[in-house]
Amino acid sequence: MGWFTGAIAWLLDPANWQGPNGVAVRLVEHLGLTAASLGLACAIALPVALWLGHVGRGGALAINVSNVGRAVPTFALLAIFTLGPPPLGRSTFSIVLALTLFAIPPIITNTYVGVRGVDREVVEAATGMGMSGSQVLRRVELPLAVPLLMNGVRIAAVQIVATATIAALVAGGGLGRIITSGFTRQDQDQVVAGALLVGLMALVVELAFEYLQRLLDPVRAGRDRSGPHPSVPRGPARPGAAVAAAQP
């Protein structure tokens, strides 16, 4: 257990939390990179996927984009961006761009599947009630697609947290730097301490988004308020059935 107590001792040493290379700075960097990239990825992927799902086109593209994303090593893309011309190169821009690119596929795939999975009869009923295309999308398809949409966002968030760690290999910031500098200094306690922080952060993000996913599911919320009701339309496939993402 020496490896574990050594890492805990490293984490409990206040000196390791302070300064420009301290845990506090790295944690803020990591959260900042994650928030910026997840926001960008959602802003790009959600409208595209909702629209594709609404008109029912580009299905093969929406599904396959995830398979392509899985095949490209995050380290390779980060390295290529780092050697690229400005505004790429050794910059935060390169890292946020790479993180965003890897977060887009799971959001697109899951949201598309979510919208397409909405019962066609429900959509027809909404159209029959006189709803326009955009009303159907906003008031019927979007709410019913929320479980899968949020599943995609959760996968993307966990993915970004993991990829942001890899950014340390190309001299980016974030918690991964604690690990890489531990390797450079041949300090195993620091390596394991950094790994514990990174693993903990990924688990916290995963659990937080799982909670958010449950919170935002309007069908579930409706059920919880009024009990099981036969007329409540079932959402599309449960999150567990959705597409898994790559682990960078």
Partner: protein, 233 residues
């Protein structure tokens, strides 16, 4: 002729001097280097996914026979999958050291988590009346498993194998942190020396390997499930 040949050589060497992304001269002169990294990459991937499959199968059987193990098995595998690869390799460092075993162990754990879930989904998908029919025909538990349930679960198992293989190939690059990253070693070295051709060639080879692995497994699936030909597009 001689002049033309000499000109061609300077052009080819020029791509090294210009530090171009795409440089055939790099591939030609450094091929032993590249092929060694490629072999390491393939070896790490094949060993990890094979070990993952061998461990996932009994785990899925256990989770199915004893339902109270199911929750923990699925929960632990989800948690494992959430841990980023850099952290995973670092957490294994105290046990396996700066060795290829660290990379293989980490990647085995990742493919294991994908495969256990797909094995389980495959077994769950076998219709109960098919099992009943097999039992009625006098199939014992072993023959039922290997003669009926496993073949019917194969599409789901192969789907998992394809995901596991493709993501393991991408993840192997991170093994560079302990010095065994296959093509990742080239990416890292090229990055540190601003050698664009090395980074780009290694990256393209990674994607190429993933595509080849995916196609090979797809082909294997068609051979293994002849009754589904035409159904699996």
């Amino acid at each position: 002729m001689i002049v033309a040949a000499a000109h061609a050589t300077t052009l080819a060497e020029d791509c090294l001097q210009r530090n171009a992304w795409i440089c055939p001269e790099y591939v030609r002169t450094r091929w032993p280097d590249i092929s060694a990294a490629l072999s390491e990459h393939v070896l790490i991937t094949v060993v990890s996914v094979t070990l993952g499959t061998l461990i996932a199968f009994p785990m899925a059987l256990l989770a199915r026979r004893l339902p109270r193990f199911r929750g923990p098995v699925v929960g632990v595998s989800t948690a494992l999958y959430t841990i980023p690869s850099l952290a995973m390799f670092s957490l294994l460092l105290p046990f396996t050291g700066l060795a290829v075993a660290t990379v293989v162990t980490g990647l085995t754990l990742y493919s294991l988590t994908i495969l256990v879930r797909n094995f389980l989904a495959g077994f769950d998908g076998v219709p109960e009346d098919v099992r009943e029919a097999a039992r009625g025909m006098g199939y014992g538990p072993g023959r039922l498993l290997f003669g009926v349930e496993l073949p019917l679960a194969l599409p789901s198992v192969f789907a998992g194998l394809r995901i596991a293989a493709v993501s393991t190939i991408a993840l192997t690059t991170i093994g560079v942190i302990v010095g065994f990253g296959g093509l990742g070693n080239l990416i890292s070295r090229g990055l540190n020396s601003f050698f664009k051709a090395e980074v780009f060639t290694a990256s393209v080879l990674c994607v190429f390997l993933a595509v080849v692995a995916d196609l090979v497994l797809l082909g294997a699936q068609r051979v293994a499930t002849p009754w589904r030909r035409g159904a699996n597009a």
